[in-house]
Symmetry: D2
Subunit: 261 residues, 4 copies
C-alpha cells in the first residue's frame, strides 16, 4: 500500500496575493502533493486551514502515515485542539515534514519545546544547500549541493534542540548560513524540518526540492502499528511484577488507584 | 556570587499525608534546598504552588540561575501563564532540574515536546543507579553505582526525546530499568531530569542523592547573560546584509514590516 | 535484489569446546546466517577467520551490503589490513552489526574511537531486554521486553560514545544494567551494536534475538551507491569556485598540488 | 590551580616557510600558548614534533589537563605509540582541542573513527563564523558572528560522526559552508574541533579566535580524577554480585580467569 500522505496548506496567500497565485494557481499544497505523487509509493492528498477541522479530522489523521505542513500568515488561526490531535498522532508514529515558515507553526514549536526563532530577509537571494550526510535517505539522488536562484534568507541561530542528524546546511548570498534540513523524533514519530519554500518564489517547482520532499516522506514513514498508548502511564502492580517482589514501606496510592497527571 | 537557585515544591502531600510530613516536616522543597545549601557555591531558596504566582514572579525568575522542580498531585493547578514564564527563562539560559514525578509537570512536557510517560509501581523496592558517564560533572564524587533501599519504580519506555547525554540508568528489584539521569538543552537552558524522589520515602535525605542535586545545579548554571531575544525573529534588511546584495524577485513583505508569527 | 549480507564468525570455540559445538554444530555464524535467511529480503552467507583474507576479499566486501560480526577469543588474530578494508567499506555505506563480545573487536574499537570496555560475569543469569524506542525498525515485532533465561552479564559503564539512538537496555538478575542495543553512524555506514550472544548459551536460537538480527540487517542496509571517495580531500581551485572569487594573500600550496595527509 | 595545558605544534612550516615565519616568528604553538596564557586560569606550555617523544612523555601527559593540537604537513611522522598514549589520556578525561588541519591528524581520526575528510581551497577568502549555540561556554564573549578576512576554505561534507553539539558554522566567500566548531566526547575526555588556523594567515593573532581558544580550554577541562581503568574489562564474580545469584549453565571461563581481548 502506498504511503498515505496529507499535505496541509494554510492556503491564505494563494487567495490574496497575485504573485503567489501566478506561481501556485492551485495552491502551494497542490503543488507539493503533485511532487509527492510523482512517486508511486506515495499517495498524497491535501487539507487546508479553511476546511472543517482544518481538514484534519480524527478519522483522517488515523489513516495518515505522513503529514506535510506549510503555514505562514495564519499560525494563530490553527485550533489548539487540532494541534493536540496532530501531536498525539506524531507521538503514535505518524511522520511529520515541516516546511519553511512552518518553523513558527504551533505544532512544530510544541514538538520542539523551543522558540524556533531565526533571522530572515526577503530579497530573492541565491541559496545553496550543501548535503552534510551524503548517503542519508533524504539526500537520495542529489549531488553534493544544489541551488535555488531566489529564496528568502533564514539565518542562524535557529533555536531548535540539537537534531538527531543534520542533513543540509544552506549558504546564502547575503552572508548567512542555516541548518536547512534536520531530523528529530518525538515519541514514535519522525520529524524532518526542510527550510526552502517562500511563497513568492517557484521553489516547489524545483526538481531537487521535489526530490527532497519525496525522499523525506519515505524516510518519515514508519510502518509499525500506531503506538496508541504512548501517553499513558500504566501502573504495574506488585503481583504482576516480572521478578518476585515483596512490598515494603509506606504507600501513597491505594491498590488499583490511578497515578496523578 | 553564589548560584541563585529556587527549589519549587508543590507542597501538597506535605500538608495532608502524615507519612510525608514525618519524613519532610518542613516540606520536600525545604529538604532539597537544605541539601543544595551544603555547597557554599549555591544559594537556594524555596517557592511553592500556594504562594502568589506560585512564588515565581517575573522579578524572581529574572534573578534565578537554576530552578529545581518537584510536583506530583497538582500539575494541573499550575497556571499556564507561569509555565510560559518559566519556559521563556529556560530558553534565556536558566538551568532547570526536574525531579521524579515532575516528569508529568506542564513545564517538562512543554520543553520535551513528548508525552513523558512511563510505567510505575509503588512497592518500596530497591533501586540501584548505575553511572553511565562516569566523569560527568553530575556524577562528581559518586562511585560506580549507588542504591536506594526503597523507591517507587519507574520503568521504560520513558517517552522523552533522545537526550544529549545519559548519565544514570536504574536497575529495579522488580525487573525494570529506567534512564534515571538525562541531560537536554532547550534554547540556552540546560535541563537535567533526575528520577528518584517519591514522597513516601526519605530519598532527599540520602547522601548520594543530595550530592547529585548539588552537582546538577552546578552543571545547569550558565553564567552567560540572559538571551532575552531568544524568541524574536528579526528581519535583516538588504542594506544591512553582511555581503553586498542586490534585491531580486517579488516580495510579500513591505520594507520594515514585521514577519508573521 | 535481496540484501547481500555476510555473517563473519571467528569460529574458534566451535572447534574446541564441546558445549559450543553441541549448541552450534555448524558454527555460530551458520546459525546467525540461517536466522537471517528466514527473511527472503536478506541473502546471507558466511565468512570465518580461518579462510584466506578471513573470507573478506576486496571483491566480496564490494558486493556486501551488510556485515555481521561475531568474535571473542581471537580479536588479535584479525589482520589489520582486513580491518582497514572493512572500515573503508563501512565509511562507504556498508552496514555493520556487531554482536556481543565483538565489542572488543578491532573493527568496533576503531569505529567508535573509545575503549569499548565493560563489566562481565559468566553465570548463566537471566537477562531482560527492555525496548526503549518502541517503534524503531530494529524493534519491529517485539513486545515491550523479552527475556533470555541464561546469558553472560555485561554491565555499565560501556565506554562507547553517546549513540544516535538507544534501542534496548538490559536488566540482569545479578543487579547490573547495560545499553544492549545502540545505533551509530560512521561515514555513510550505519552501525548497530547488539549485546546478547555468549557462545555457551543457545541465544542465537531464540526467536526474539533472531527477529532483532533480521530487523537490524534491514535497518543497516543503505541502498545508496557506495561513497567511494569518502576519505578523499579534494582541492577546489579558485577558478572552479561556485562564487566568483579573487585570490588573496600568501599561499603554501602551488596550484594543483595535493594537500597533506 | 590553573588548567595545565599543553599546546602541541608540528613546527614544520615555521622552520621552512618565510611567510609562516614572519607571522609566527616563535612558532604557531607559541602564539597559541600566549593566547591561552592571557587567561590566568590557564597555564599553557608548548611541545613540538621535534622533541623527544614529541614532547609528550607519559609523565607530562599525566600532568596535562587539556591538550591543544596543531599539525599539517607531518601527520605521518607522529609516532603511533605516542598517539596511543594521547588517546588513553583523552579516554581518562584529558580535554583535547584539535585545530584546523589537525582534522587529518592520527589522534583525531582515531578518536572519531571516520575519515575526517573535507574540501579545501587556499585563496585567502573571507570566512564568517556564525554562533549556533549562543550561550555555549565556548562562545562566551562573542557576538552573533565574527569574521576572518583571509582564511583557507574548508567545505562540507566533513566526515565526522554527528557531534554532541554544533557551536559554529562557517560561511565562505567562495560559496561553501563548514561546521567549524563541534564538540564530542570519547571515554571521559571532551573534544572540541575548531576550524580556523591556516599557517599563512595571522588567524591566531585574531581576538575572537584567541577568545574561542581560551573558552575551549576551560570547557574541555574536567576536574574529575583520571579514569585510569577506563579501558579495563573487569570480571565481577558470582560471589561479588550485588544481588544474590545462583550460577547456572555451562561456562567457558574458569573461575578467576581473565576475559579475552
Amino acid at each position: 500500500m502506498a504511503i498515505r500522505t496529507v499535505v496541509w496548506g494554510e492556503n491564505v496567500h494563494e487567495q490574496k496575493d497575485s504573485i503567489v497565485q501566478s506561481i501556485y494557481p492551485d495552491g502551494m499544497h497542490a503543488a507539493i502533493a503533485a511532487a509527492l505523487n510523482e512517486n508511486k509509493a506515495i499517495s498524497a492528498t491535501t487539507a487546508t486551514l479553511q476546511e472543517a477541522e482544518h481538514g484534519l479530522t480524527e478519522k483522517r489523521l488515523a489513516e495518515t502515515d505522513v503529514l506535510v505542513w506549510w503555514g505562514h500568515a495564519a499560525h494563530g488561526q490553527v485550533d489548539d485542539a487540532i494541534v493536540e490531535r496532530v501531536q498525539q498522532r506524531v507521538w503514535e508514529g505518524m511522520g511529520l515534514i515541516v516546511l519553511h515558515s512552518g518553523h513558527f507553526s504551533k505544532i512544530f514549536k510544541r514538538l520542539m519545546g523551543t522558540p524556533c526563532s531565526l533571522k530572515w530577509r526577503e530579497a530573492g537571494e541565491r541559496e545553496r544547500l550543501w548535503v552534510i550526510n551524503r548517503n542519508h535517505p533524504i539526500a537520495k539522488g542529489l549531488g553534493e549541493h544544489f541551488e535555488l536562484p531566489m529564496e528568502e534568507m533564514y539565518g542562524e541561530a535557529f533555536t531548535v534542540p540539537e537534531p538527531l542528524e543534520t542533513v543540509f546546511i544552506s549558504w546564502f548570498e547575503g552572508g548567512e548560513v542555516f541548518r536547512s534540513g534536520m531530523t528529530f523524533q518525538r515519541g514514535a514519530g519522525r520529524i524532518f524540518y526542510f527550510r526552502p519554500g517562500h511563497e513568492t518564489y517557484p521553489t516547489y517547482h524545483d526538481g531537487n526540492v521535489r526530490q527532497v520532499l519525496r525522499n523525506a516522506v519515505e524516510w518519515a514513514y514508519n510502518p509499525a502499528p500506531a503506538w496508541a498508548s504512548v501517553a499513558s502511564a500504566p501502573n504495574v502492580p506488585v503481583d504482576k511484577a516480572l521478578e518476585k517482589l515483596v512490598e515494603k514501606g509506606p504507600k501513597l496510592h491505594a491498590h488499583g488507584e490511578e497515578g496523578f497527571r
